[in-house]
Amino acid sequence: MLLEITGLDAHYGRIRALSSVDVAVGEGELVAIVGANGAGKTTLLRTLSGVHPASAGTIRFDGGDITRLSAHARVAAGIVQVPEGRQLFGPLSVEDNLRLGAFRRRHRPEEDLGRVYAMFPALGQRRRQPAGTLSGGQQQMVAMGRALMANPRLLLLDEPSMGLAPLLVAEIFKAVQALKEQGTTILLVEQNATAALAIADRAYVLETGSVTLRGTGAALLADEGVRQAYLGL
């Protein structure tokens, strides 16, 4: 397994946001985490990226224990996150946002820049524009492009479709699937459970900080409990 999380706890003050979470992601897999508002999905990704401390448990990446590693060292190791709400550098240009994505890499990022513009042509026409002035969908493309510039070994996506019009949601999911087909390992957090389970190899259901169900995407999509709780069926 590329990523192995065992017994992970995380707190906000005295509030426990994750309790004893076990999640694993294999090389090349697309794993989804679904769950309601406040289930702890974002907290799990923040803890994986090292911007929120784990209070118990271990995170192993590529065989090594990274539980106490600093956030920037995790990026260098290849764990790269597209955070909830995009979190762009609003006043900086689209291109600066993308270049900053490659901050931990030594080589010049021209080639990768070209790849991101090819993947999201809308960004190429707006490369000089402040990222904050783009539409929601384009901002999500910048956020994803910025993460790709880091050449991730494990891409963490936190609700990439949130707040987007249906047409754009489809486009984002298409991009996620394309990345998977190119071999990128992805951990995808989504409230849009139907779409996420449809493209996931495997998935976990998170409820108030604990994993309550796990299985293949197809199996969870067919599960009666999941259908009632998360798919509104």
Partner: protein, 290 residues
Amino acid sequence: MAEFLQYLVTGVTIGSIYALAALGFAIVYNASHVINFAQGEFIMIGGMATATLTAAGVPLPLAILAGIAGAMLVGVLIAKFAVERARNASVVTLIIITIGASIFLRGLAEVVWGKEFHRLDSFSGNAPLMLGGAVVTTQSLWVLGVTAALILATGLFFNRTMAGKAMLATSHNRLAAQLVGVNVRHVVLAAFALSAALGAMGGAVVAPITYSYTEMGIMLGLKGFAAAALGGLGNGVGAVAGGLIVGIAESLSAGYISSAYKDAVAFVIIVAVLVFMPGGLFGRAGTERV
């Protein structure tokens, strides 16, 4: 007219030093949201080190470099041991910490260098130039030239280099900066080092005009703060403009009203900014580039 021009020259000269200090306030504020009231001490260290080292026979350029290096070291130490330790403290606590650091540094400077005034010769002779009836000393030209070069270099650093952009990015969105792999602790240290270098260089070039003494940083630092507030805290271009405005306002009021009110000008500006336009003349950081 010649009189007015003279006041203008004086104002722009001293305003340049305020501008460098204000730029230091802006850089540190952007990186850490700390208002570093020890900024004036960087100016003092630059001035004192240059004056005392040259008096001891060290060549001027080396003396200046030593002053800058010393100030940068002090800046990094303040960031590391005072500000970083108090990471989760309130803004007020952090301000008090920097005020404490500045008092400590003045005390230490007094022990090392004594209480007396130190003279430093002009960098290149004493023959003044005449400019439309105003007297311009060669040292004024040094101040203006060095300030312009430093401001330009700072602008290029933030807008053209990845390290500079990473610092800007951190000020705009700290979480996102961490997520692209920026070591935000290093950004804070670099900001203190950079602001210390700007202040110390300012102190070295202004020393032949003002003399240097261990308390020279108090007023220069406070006026730099007035300039930074006027320009909109965290706004680099505003800081430079604010510095020049404070310098000119002070020089004109000293000339046309009374030099007794000279220092009051900066404080009237601080109060006016805080009361009437908390965002400063040019708006706060967030939408502006440093």
